[in-house]
């Protein structure tokens, strides 16, 4: 157990809104080893970001952790006070957000915002902090770092700002970097650059990355393991190869069918997943994906499928697997 950097077990989290309880996370379990890249994929509202924020103790107001344990780098996150959390945020675990255009404070210089983290978490002198800030900007591939430090966010492009965000996140060499859709708001060419930079820095600094995205292309190229989330559940977990070549959950299969492929024939149509995401205020009793699944059976509507392991790291919860197993056993 302890060889995991991140270990989330049976996490349940709800938002208590005026309309009722929104069950954002239902029994989420996964682990990340040091230096590993875990991709979390799923559509909007599936609980990807909520999982990440809860790990940093940043769950937004009406949200409440209802059960499960969250361990990170020897800390039991559940039991930590806000004051203790502040010591590890930005130091042992950092996050970069989706929209670099709005993630930096517009009224302070880049330098101010980088130095701020260093001042908070290290005992470095002023000169050392300045030197480190320059070094960080060089690390994330920003030219003329001295000049950039004096500039304001609005004077830089989106790609540059995301590099700055990465520099801020990496300032104290965290053990874990959470990337919450880091490329969604960027141009495609810039996206590739940013992803490349993240992988390069991961190799250089040896941190683990939790990559939250809805872009399967991103996870395919970067991640060691992938967790597929749907309606607050991890419906399938496995290595990147497992997910792409041996998907076991109907939702994962649907996702993979819905992305364009290099080897597809001309005029071949993409297959979208029909329907809309489930209403999290009134989640269905059975499998959350049942209403959109074209292989839906009676039992799917009644009961949640048990988790079935296909290998040490590959597991999924789908009744289709149960059925296949039974049929296989009968033969």
């Amino acid at each position: 157990m302890s060889d995991y950097l991140v270990s989330i077990e049976h996490e349940r989290l709800s938002f208590f809104t005026p309309a009722g309880e929104v069950k954002a996370l239902n029994d989420v379990t996964f682990h990340i080893k040091e230096g590993e890249v875990l991709g979390i994929v799923g559509e909007s509202g599936s609980g990807k970001s909520v999982t990440a924020y809860s790990l940093m103790g940043l769950t937004a107001h009406p949200g409440k952790l209802l059960g499960g344990t969250l361990d990170f780098n020897g800390h039991r996150i559940n039991d930590m006070t806000e004051k203790e959390m502040r010591k590890i945020r930005g130091k042992e675990v950092s996050i970069i957000f989706q929209d670099p255009m709005t993630s930096l404070n517009p009224v302070y210089t880049i330098g101010n915002q980088i130095r701020e983290v260093l001042k908070l978490h290290t005992d470095k002198s002023k000169a050392e902090i300045q030197a480190r800030a320059v070094e960080l900007l060089e690390l994330v591939g920003i030219n003329e770092p001295q000049k950039r430090l004096k500039q304001y966010p609005h004077e830089l492009s989106g790609g540059m700002r995301q590099r700055i965000m990465i520099a801020i996140a990496l300032a104290c060499e965290p053990k874990l970097l959470i990337a919450d859709e880091p490329t969604t708001a960027l141009d495609v060419t810039i996206q590739a650059q940013i992803l490349e930079l993240m992988m390069e820095l991961k190799d250089k600094l040896g941190m683990a990355i939790m990559m939250i995205t809805h872009d399967l292309g991103v996870v395919a190229s970067m991640c060691d393991h992938i967790a597929v989330m749907y309606a607050g559940n991890i419906v399938e977990y496995g290595t990147t190869d497992d997910i792409f070549y041996r998907p076991k959950h109907e939702y994962t299969k649907g996702l993979i069918r819905s992305i364009p492929r290099m080897d597809s024939k001309e005029h071949e149509r993409l297959v979208p997943i029909e329907g809309t995401p489930v209403d999290m205020l009134n989640p269905p009793k059975g499998c959350p994906f049942a209403s959109r699944c074209d292989k839906c059976m009676k039992i799917c509507l009644r009961e949640k499928a048990p988790v079935m392991h296909f290998s040490d790291v590959h597991y999924s919860s789908c009744w289709m697997n149960q059925k296949a197993e039974l049929e296989g056993g009968n033969k």
């Binding site: 502040r86 945020r89 304001y152």
Partner: protein, 305 residues
């Protein structure tokens, strides 16, 4: 920057000229005149008076004469307060109003901003509700009601504060509270909504994710962004408030400019109307330039062109 200020001041001159011109003609359109209200003025005397002040000449001639004199800094004599020039009225009355008004704006700023922040941070809780109710009252209740209530409670019933005039520092308390009431309430509401907006911004999430304490998040990252709408409001507010309030000055018997302003209109004291209006317009325009410059200092994204 210097170029910008020069440009703005040039525009200010045009604005003030427009205000002066409009006021001059509108004022003369209103029926009545400075000497009509007094009883038993013989037609002969009236003619003599009008001739003395040049009111018998055609309007455009009066306008040209007034503008020429004004450009030379001569705003004429009061038509009603015999023997006093408009300039001397403004220079003697303005400091009184400015002192009370300036203090009231300070109070409004230093009470309204923290109240708005507290309210935003406790959104939806009891503290927030209490502040919102008080602020709404502050906006809805007219100042003469507040003046009277203050006088009745603090002055008459409790006997803590003197009710009339401006003798000691104690005399200043009630007028300042009365003047500050509305702007405090307004700033509180302004600050609350802009703070709520800022607290929901992505960079606030970033500052939290850095591990900064709530205090630093709030005072360093949120406040500077959230205060911008208040700065905008502060300019015109300052201009209005330092130039005096008719109601507050009347009720507390304060010899300020606000009273002069209103009574000159009811008296058709043309020269005083012109003088005080031009003075207020100048103040207003200057304050707006100052606000723009402060704006630029607070938010580097703003470009002064």
């Amino acid at each position: 920057m210097a170029k910008y200020i020069a440009k703005r001041l040039g525009m200010a001159v045009v604005t003030i000229w427009l205000v002066a011109t409009l006021t001059f003609f509108l004022m003369n359109l209103v029926p009545g005149g400075p000497f009509l209200s007094e009883k038993a003025v013989s037609p002969k005397a009236l003619e003599a008076l009008e001739a003395k002040y040049g009111l018998d000449k055609p309007l455009h001639e009066q306008y040209i004469t007034y503008m020429k004199d004004a450009l030379h800094g001569d705003f004429g004599d009061s038509l009603k307060q015999r023997g006093r020039t408009v300039s001397s009225i403004i220079t003697s009355k303005f400091p009184v109003s400015a002192k009370i008004g300036g203090l009231a704006v300070l109070v409004a700023f230093f009470v309204g901003v923290p109240l708005g922040c507290v309210s935003a941070l406790h959104r939806g809780k009891v503290t927030d509700n209490i502040i919102i109710v008080i602020a709404t009252c502050g906006i809805a209740v007219p100042s003469f009601v507040i003046c009277t209530l203050l006088m009745y409670t603090l002055g008459v019933k409790l006997g803590w504060l003197p009710t009339l005039g401006l003798g000691t520092w104690k005399h200043y308390i009630m007028p300042i509270i009365a003047l500050a009431f509305y702007p405090t309430a307004y700033i509180t509401r302004l600050m609350r909504s802009s703070m709520l907006d800022v607290l929901g911004q992505d960079y606030m999430r970033t500052s939290k994710a850095k591990g900064l304490s709530q205090f630093v998040c709030l005072f360093k990252h949120a406040l500077r962004n959230a205060i911008l709408p208040v700065v905008t409001y502060l300019g015109p507010l300052l201009a209005y408030t330092v130039s005096g309030s008719f109601i507050v000055e009347k009720i507390f018997s304060i010899p300020g400019l606000g009273r002069e302003f209103i009574s000159s209109i009811t008296n058709r004291d043309y020269t005083v109307i012109m003088g005080t209006t031009i003075f207020l317009a100048t103040l207003m325009v200057l304050m707006n330039v100052v606000v723009d410059i402060v704006y630029k200092l607070v938010d580097p994204r703003i470009k002064l062109k």
